[in-house]
Homo-oligomer: 399 residues x 4
């Protein structure tokens, strides 16, 4: 196996030095992640945010490599097999994401969620790779006995989050999202089988949580991003409703399969054949569609003439919806009552800093005791940690 | 006009504070540049290199704004109208680029070059904007009397190059491509109508030329990038040859118009309707095509199983071509003589540091004299400046 | 006046384009800030933190320039005279800092604080510059009628803090201290004479406060930094106590002037003649001093063999002091009761995120209303903002 | 041995995980490097350039660690003892530098060069560390049989140069000095005992040489830096000439020892007791000296009112010297013929890109052959590589 080095503007160089990992990356289903944007429609606000889920997975793999190296340096027992398995698990953690990721999740393949797809895809890949992925799957599913390996993949301080915050911050240019991933990874260790973090990293962890909060409100849930992603969903729903087809046979099949006919295991090939390119091409085609609703939503998103969006108080939503619907029906004769909700609709977004019930962040004190970060005296977030914040929004057509 | 601020990971924030410029950016033909990658297939080697031509144009606009600010600070006479015109000219300089830019130039629309398309598009936009773009067009075409404005757009040290080197270096992570654009722009001035650069910037200019050279060999003309882009061309040529159509009516029209039927002015709407998404969707569709040549090239590029590529000496090309063609015809029964050149072919790439005949870099000395950089004593590149370097390559299918 | 450009690794280039400002920077009393470290003893932990107060003042000047530019773009009325005055005021805001800044404040010149010295120095400079600094002084002293100019210099979101957090973060390499100064400065404006910040910057402001908190605990109040700076104070106090002199006549005069003999206006020349070099040279000389206390503290700090330091609970201090004092007296026969407190001592450090009583951060909502950030619903810090955190520490000699 | 992690703004974190190395770093003679600026007087032009030789040595150590890691990954045989020895050798490579490094080399201790001091200091330290440094010394002196270890410390592409270029570029803010140290270190290997570099790194090597060239002319040999460092030398020479003493007994001893009385081995303690602080304090003291020459040079450098400096042609020097000397003697009655050469003097600086005779850069081709970079066809520098560039300057007092 010759070593392969990948240039990464975020971390410098990423090294691949294992043949199995190399082969997994070269698998068409993994290569397909090159064609799925990490941040869906955020690029309409942050033009640099065009990086891909492929890049994120490679980046999370790099942080896993770094984390395991640090843990081994601290004397934590990790076998070469476990190391490879943990790296594979993080590489594959997002395999179940489809076109435009979260923005179309549950919409394209009705009510199918990416975790279930990821699981099914891993099972299939494990067959192709003659069972070599079994330990990775066990770690991913949290049935492997060294729990900390799973916690590195999925937890409050996992390498998935560390990579996406770092990477999304880099590509959007939102410098406030920068986290000290290297400092945090230098200070993790394992205590009674759990991933814990040393006391002196407490301010870096606070900072990490705040950076995440900021990225949510400023980037992921930015108003313009929100409305664009909602329009994307409306487009797909309308296309299904009226039976519109695109140039992609795989997309057509996924989109027009009734919910009761879906069997995840049977749809894997179709699912892994579609990506952002199929969606956007379909939208471009539908700009010419005879259905006014579909055509106008498609044209709007391609030319970036989006619906308006406001944040409102919860109790103002109904009145606002009524007001805008009436206004539209007065001004647009071709938008009747049946379709007006494609042009006026509301919703809610939520952002919770820290879920105290699970995915805890455990702080290891010098005296050997452990505290959950939400219990640390003087810690800034203390009482605020567990409170979820939510915002209500309303989208509407306006001339 | 309220000011609009765009986050840019490269420069921080980019400010738009002119209504006409704002409207141009919002034009669907400009928004379309969001869907054209700046670096075509380079992302197959540098996964971060997925930024768009839209982003580059906005970035070059930012550098133009900065350059004009510096020149005005030095007392150079630039009217507000000229400033707006120069900014518009650089915004629009790449409008004629089609899908995958240089990689498919002259291929999609047979023998049509992006400069001619840019010119035609500007004329059309000028009509839509009631003649407000005329000065920008004059500057772009180098018929405006203040020549330095054109030189900022197109020359050895123009803001186009400064942005693309800086930006491509940023997104690829090739730190050696970093140039000191800010130092250079601090040291430009105007002498007898020409853009010149102060003596003390001479080392930064040297460095700029070297960084460009490095980016060419290491990134733009990287072997894997080369072969991927050649395969892209072969795919389009084959699709035309066998009359393959895609789901995009506009792409079909552009691709299958005979050379003699092309009238640039008549194709603008079709041309501005296609982008990287149409091309990649077509390729994905053609993976299923009955033509073996088309299907296998398309599958190869989507799954990143590329042809092999070697750099060779010029005099070795013919023998190598013969050898590989014979090998293929022995191993692949479905590749006959008529199509073997889709799987084995050679070519040449060239990189010239500095063209002494035009686009000079003029150095202004403290005593008021002017020298071309190729004439500066002691300057590193001196004799080497004008020598073009070329490399010959050969691509071939190999099992 | 020719423009002068200063290279700054933090902001790129800093431009000086005003003759008076140029002359102020060239004044020996301002040049002296080149010889005062911005972060005193922090370099013993963060080797990069050797930047100077000169650099910080130039940097804060740059941010002031940027802030005023943005405000003018938003239509805020600022005259050229006011612009120059505000720039001068920020340039001079730290003039009263002496060697090792806060670490020796009130120690070298007994109970003299840097604000009083700054004020006296500005008065003196104003004489030398023929009254041209009067408006700057008025802004600095908050008696100028446009209050927002003073708030840019001294407030919760002033350019002083923005520069030192950004700069200290840069030079220490503590990436978590990075703040989005550019985003905040893009979003300030003036409302009824006060500096306010637009609603959409609220997360950046939160982030700014958190970054400051992190820098305090992780850097400024780092245990090792604390003990080194306390040792520095002890050294100066001991030198005064025993009448030790150094090679610097000015330091000798400042150090050995009795409190009742101090007249700030008369000590300016002496004060502005000393800097970190005088202090460190004295310490190096005193390594050879016959007084065991002085010599051993000096040797310890020069060779970085510092006292031990622990954070303790408030109620544990007395017992700990007693314990360590007894231990020392047992082990070191030459440390008697009179001097033991040079080698065992305790103290308290405090860090308050936000002082609600003054220096408010006012948020301007789209509807024109104003709220203090501590009153914003859902804002993370809400109840925690005003709580000061304090830590108790104990330093002691240990073999 | 617990691991120690040092924050470095350039590389992030630097890990020390060896007890002997830890002890060497804690030795007072090594700690003394904290008080020697890496770039002497360059801070008068680049205010950020205040980093220390301590920081550089730690940084070079980090690159050595990285280089050895990469070589081991490629299968090069390096024992743990050799690894430690190579790290120690690079840590100690600059131990012989005195105050203001090159600027005062051969001046303070007459005609003593830092290589000889380094060698003597290492011998002394080896005694203190019971012979544990012997292999490091052998590597440093190039008598160890694995030559590539020495070449990593001293050669055209050594980690010393890589660190100082990277670090000086970082702290000055001269972005053009940025080199791709990580790419180069990824591509080194060992061939027949010699350090060689893989063919594909050739453009990075070119870029490295150009960046070095740029840093020399733009930073290290910047006119203002040159004149300040020459003045520093003149000050020391004058102080010796007139027998001026400072507050530092060690500096006095070093400065006033006659050349014939110098025995390097006997001066180590004195030498290792002085640093930039002793020099600058002496200069501050001498501002008050009765000797006009000494006092005025000292005042000039402290207040940054430097002599003027011009670059001239070699054949213009004599005339210029005469002209300026006459002018001074007319305008300054207290500068007579005997001392005028303290205020008017000339000199030469030289910068050679690549010395072909020794310290070669060897390129390893895929076919196993080796070429010196100066022999590579098409390489930009080809003929220019070996040409040394020199500039003549003249410094003079001017009112």
């Amino acid at each position: 196996m010759k070593r392969k080095v990948i240039n990464d503007p975020v971390y410098g160089f990423i090294t691949i030095d294992n043949e199995l990992i190399f082969d997994i990356i070269n698998h068409p289903w993994f290569q397909r992640l090159r064609r799925i944007h990490q941040m869906a429609m955020a690029q309409l606000v942050y033009p640099g945010a065009v990086h891909t889920r492929f890049h994120h997975c490679i980046g999370a793999y790099h942080l896993m490599r770094y984390a395991l190296f640090e843990l081994k340096q601290k004397g934590i027992d990790i076998t070469p097999e476990e190391e490879t398995a943990a790296k594979i698990a993080i590489l594959l953690h997002d395999m179940g994401h489809g076109p435009y990721s979260h923005a179309l999740e549950g919409i394209l393949a009705i009510d199918v969620h990416h975790e279930d797809l990821s699981a099914a895809i891993m099972v299939q890949l494990n067959k192709e790779f003659n069972g070599q992925l079994q330990m990775a799957i066990d770690i991913f599913n949290d049935v492997y006995h060294k729990k900390f390996l799973h916690q590195l993949i999925s937890g409050q301080l996992d390498v998935d989050r560390m990579d996406y915050l770092t990477r999304d911050s880099f590509f959007t240019g939102v410098s406030e999202g920068v986290i000290g991933y290297d400092r945090i990874l230098k200070m993790i260790t394992v205590h009674e089988g759990d991933l814990v973090i040393e006391e002196k990293a407490i301010f870096s962890v606070e900072k990490f949580l705040i950076a995440r909060r900021l990225m949510y409100w400023q980037v992921y849930l930015h108003k313009t991003v929100l409305v664009a992603e909602q329009m994307l969903r409306k487009i797909m729903l309308r296309a299904r409703e009226i039976g519109a087809t695109s140039g992609s046979p795989f997309l057509n099949k996924i989109l027009h399969t009734a919910k009761e006919d879906i069997v995840i295991e049977h749809m894997l090939t179709d699912f892994c054949s579609i990506d952002d390119y199929d969606i956007l091409s379909a939208i471009k085609l539908w700009m010419l569609h005879e259905d006014f609703v579909l055509a106008s939503l498609c044209t709007a998103i391609i030319n970036r003439k989006l619906l308006k969006i406001n944040f409102v108080e919860e109790n103002e939503i109904d009145a606002a919806l009524t007001k805008y619907k009436q206004s539209i029906q007065k001004n647009y004769t071709n938008i009747d009552e049946k379709v007006v909700s494609y042009f006026v609709f509301g919703g809610m977004v939520k952002n919770q800093l820290y879920k105290t019930d699970y995915e805890k962040i455990k702080i290891l004190y010098k005296n050997g005791s452990i505290k959950d970060i939400s219990q640390v005296d003087n810690a800034l977030m203390y009482k605020n940690l567990a409170t979820a914040e939510q915002k209500y929004y309303i989208c509407y057509l306006s001339n």
